[in-house]
Symmetry: C2
Subunit: 147 residues, 2 copies
DNA sequence: ACGCAAATGTTATAACGTAACAAAGTCGCC
DNA sequence: GGCGACTTTGTTACGTTATAACATTTGCGT
């Protein structure tokens, strides 16, 4: 049983500042994610940046990894896809997504009650948490059948 | 943007009852998961059941899908791996895992505070939830460096 | 110019998952 | 028993997602 994904959550500066420190490839990928209307798979991103000069999966995955470290992008585990973070204060350690099964939209938010639950649980159970991920799956308002 | 994973959460009977309704392949896969000391990837499961006669990935994935529907197994998104559920009342709609990055163990639990947060949020935001998944990532007690 | 570290580029391959179709088992019904 | 409908199983072949390993270039301090 071995493990991946040391990718997330280091720095805690604000997004505006972090965006000015991006390398060329990071900026390319981030721009694509910001312009997308929903989560994008790594290979969809690759297609979008190919003409700008990025041609192979490792280039995209590396950029994504660093964007996640800076809290500028998140991976949605359930979809194997990535989104740009639009919450300025977000450091990527406690994100929640509401994912629509019909249109594929993924709305990111944070919640104090959730944070409290997580904090309490890790204290009570001696678990040294590095980050938490919560994914709510269902239908967004626009996709629900008329009442 | 298209979507998968209609696999979860139908029936709500208890596990003991559900286990007696398993087909041959479902039972094989479930037995392997129950005997494992942590999450297993689909191909690891395949290796474990090969001598019993299951020889191809679709067979394993089909069994896993039906075990998940019955609440007898869960997929851990972050690990692309599967575990047997050990909570008798679990229907798979609101599971929480604490995942250790060092030893790979995944402890499943439920929590009333979390359920309340989820219920409130979906009411306040008109989101028709089908299921929720929460994955806490860090170090389990056994894997934490000595204080 | 030289040395070093970070970033980028490239190839090949590993790991995870599914579509599509064929064959065999199960069960009720005439 | 024979037939039809449905479920389960078996098999091939492929699609999608992710990473290992190594080469090259870039930026920068000395
Ligand atoms: Zn965020
Ligand atoms: Zn929707
Ligand atoms: Zn469970
Ligand atoms: Zn551990």
């Amino acid at each position: 049983m071995e493990h991946p994904n040391k990718a997330e959550a280091h720095h805690t500066h604000d997004h505006a500042g972090a965006k000015n420190e991006l390398t060329r490839n990071e900026r390319l990928v981030h721009t694509v994610l910001e312009g997308a209307d929903g989560p994008l798979g790594a290979y969809a991103i690759l297609d979008a940046v190919r003409e700008a000069g990025m041609r192979s999966p490792p280039q995209v995955y590396r950029a994504l990894e660093r964007l996640q470290q800076r809290g500028l992008a998140h991976r949605i585990e359930r979809l194997n896809a990535f989104v740009a973070c639009r919450r300025d204060e977000c450091d990527g350690t406690a994100t929640i997504f509401a994912i629509c099964e019909n249109c594929g939209c993924a709305r990111e938010f944070a919640d104090g009650t959730f944070d409290g639950f997580v904090t309490d649980w890790m204290r009570d159970n001696s678990f040294a948490m590095r980050l938490s991920r919560c994914e709510l799956v269902g239908l967004c308002l626009a996709c629900q059948p008329p009442s």
